[in-house]
Symmetry: C2
Subunit: 187 residues, 2 copies
């Protein structure tokens, strides 16, 4: 399990055994069942999560009850309500498991410790953050271009495995289209 | 001008004169007139920009000619086509000046140099990247909730100064609503 984390980090940087040992000691692991919550809206967000296996959705629920999916995350991805995590405030989003999910998690204090004591890890997370930003920019663009068909095809191309694993109703909530529109696009 | 950059950095971290000197020597400055392009779509993106004064829009143009505004940036903000900058590819977006704009800019090689040689600067940019991610997440949410009125009010609350400085047609392109809808909301 920690090997998965090491492989993930070593796609970008190389760590000695001692350095990886130092890093991994700041993480803990936990398993969740399908439908369980990793983060519940309104609760303090103490951790950032690295997904070892499984699939999650980060959800925002309007007061009216309508739900929106901010992002999906699966093995090899980092996920949290990052605003709440970094500012140590209650969650605005909930993080729910679509499949049985196993995670490694780290507290903000430990995250700051490994970044300040190991320059290479700070670089690693800086690059992750940059590419998170790029993905978000792409998503914004995709929502602005307001063409449901193009949005659907872009997602299909970027993350083909999502289409096997995610129920159609959730894909529709992610794309910001109705279930009926999605069926038409997928047909 | 470099004092503005120093003040901006020192909101988060403290630098000695020697350290700031090291940092500032990796930046250059340039002035642009209103309507000039800092980045043109299709050209290589060599730099990331720190805005000293002025106001810019990051624009995506569809093949049909329809334009979408990804983001506005003004004094004290960092802006670029970050995907193109970080992967050293041609720009998908253009960065245009809405007002006369003065920037400091840094190349990717120099950015990597200052981050790897000065741990505190890597931490500074990591925090910037995190909060860029949070802002993007908020924008995604605002586009998903698909309520033009709420979107307008959120923007007004977050960036009141934009409303004095940005023409209504550009605000509409940012919010993803028609000029007519915006007039109705602002009325």
């Amino acid at each position: 399990m920690y090997e998965t984390l090491r492989k993930h980090i070593e796609k970008q940087i190389t760590l000695t055994d001692e350095e990886f040992d130092f890093v991994q000691h700041h993480f803990k692991s936990r398993k969740y069942k399908r439908h369980q919550f990793i983060i519940q809206e309104g609760e303090m967000v103490k951790y950032s999560y690295f997904i070892i296996s499984g699939l999650t959705k980060l959800v925002y629920q309007e007061e009216s009850g309508k739900s929106h999916i901010i992002s999906f995350a699966m093995e090899d991805w980092w996920e949290s309500d990052f605003n709440a995590f970094l500012t140590q405030q209650p969650a605005s989003f909930s993080l729910e498991c679509i499949e049985d999910t196993e995670v490694l998690y780290i507290s903000l204090a430990d995250y700051k410790t490994i970044c300040s004591q190991l320059q290479k890890i700070a670089s690693f997370f800086l690059e992750k953050a940059h590419f998170g930003n790029i993905a978000a920019q792409r998503r914004i663009l995709s929502l602005l271009t307001s063409n449901a068909k193009a949005r659907y095809e872009q997602l299909l191309k970027q993350y083909p495995s999502l289409f096997q694993r995610v129920p159609k109703s959730l894909l529709a909530a992610y794309l910001g289209v109705s279930r009926e529109t999605l069926s038409r696009l997928a047909g």
